[in-house]
């Protein structure tokens, strides 16, 4: 898994590439998010369009990133969920927890 970071207006977009799974350094997202919060960046958008695989541990990773951001008064939203990831979130009732978008401009405007 690799993470690219960019700023769109006042939102930090994290482009996640590859797999979010237990073997694949799944704590990386959480750590990146924590660093952003410490730097005062509280509007975070995870672009998951290039994520090839997510397991239950990856779902947990997204959840803990979400709670960390929320607890610090920030907002973490999701962009470009794949069909499979959407299904994994849906059956664990997390689809309604996360705010998610398919259009980046719309996502950025929502903060």
């Amino acid at each position: 898994m690799t993470i690219d970071m960019r700023k769109v207006k006042d939102v930090t977009v994290l482009d996640i590439h590859g797999k979010i799974t237990i073997g694949e350094g799944s704590a990386e997202i959480r750590n990146t998010v924590r660093d952003l919060l410490q730097a005062g960046q509280k509007k975070i958008l995870l672009n998951l369009g290039d994520v090839s695989y997510v397991d239950s541990s990856g779902i947990g990773e997204l959840v803990s990133s979400y709670t960390t951001v929320t607890n610090q008064g920030g907002q973490l939203k999701l962009l470009n969920l794949t069909k499979k990831l959407r299904e994994l979130l849906a059956i664990t009732k997390l689809l309604t927890v996360f705010e998610s978008y398919d259009d980046e401009a719309e996502a950025v405007a929502s903060y």
Binding site: I22, G23, S56, Y66, L88, T92, K93, V97
Partner: protein, 162 residues
């Protein structure tokens, strides 16, 4: 591939007969490989792409648990994955050398108080995606998760000609 569900029907035997088996040390590095084998077995048996995906994700989750919780990542302890190709279903058993768990005491990940927990969803996914899931302590020691995936014979022929 010439071999599809038609052949899968012929492969057979008693419920407990194992047709294809993997045995490996408890290392997370093997998860991709195990998932890939599962996908290929699904394809060989004529499962459609989505079913292949969710079945192999279920195997991956079960093997993750066997490595992490059962064998506690002790590389000398083995995980055994046994595939049985029955006429109407694929049976997969994942065995580790641990003591297992009590099914009743597993927290429900959909319970509002667990919804935002960072873990505890693996078994739930397996139960969602597979047609039958059961657990048992092995008589010789160790723990087994047994999963079934029904084969969809309507799709016979789809995968016969390439």
């Amino acid at each position: 591939m010439i071999w599809g569900t038609r052949e899968a029907r012929k492969i057979n035997g008693a419920v407990s007969k194992t047709d294809f088996e993997l045995l490996f040390g408890s290392r997370l590095e093997y998860l991709d490989l195990v998932q890939n084998v599962s996908e290929n077995i699904g394809r060989m048996l004529g499962l459609d792409d989505d079913s292949q995906y969710w079945m192999s994700l279920s195997v991956r989750e079960s093997v993750t648990n066997a490595i992490l919780h059962g064998n506690k990542q002790d590389g000398d302890k083995k995980v055994n994955v046994l595939f049985s190709f029955l006429e109407d279903r694929l049976v997969i058993r994942v065995q580790d050398e641990g003591n297992g768990f009590e099914q009743e005491s597993l927290p429900d990940p959909l319970d509002p108080e667990n919804l935002l927990k960072p873990s505890g969803r693996g078994i739930f996914y397996v139960r969602s995606f597979m047609d039958d899931v059961s657990y048992r302590a092995l008589p010789e020691g160790g723990w087994e998760v047994r999963m079934e995936k029904r084969l969809n014979h309507q799709q016979q022929g789809d995968s016969d000609d390439h």
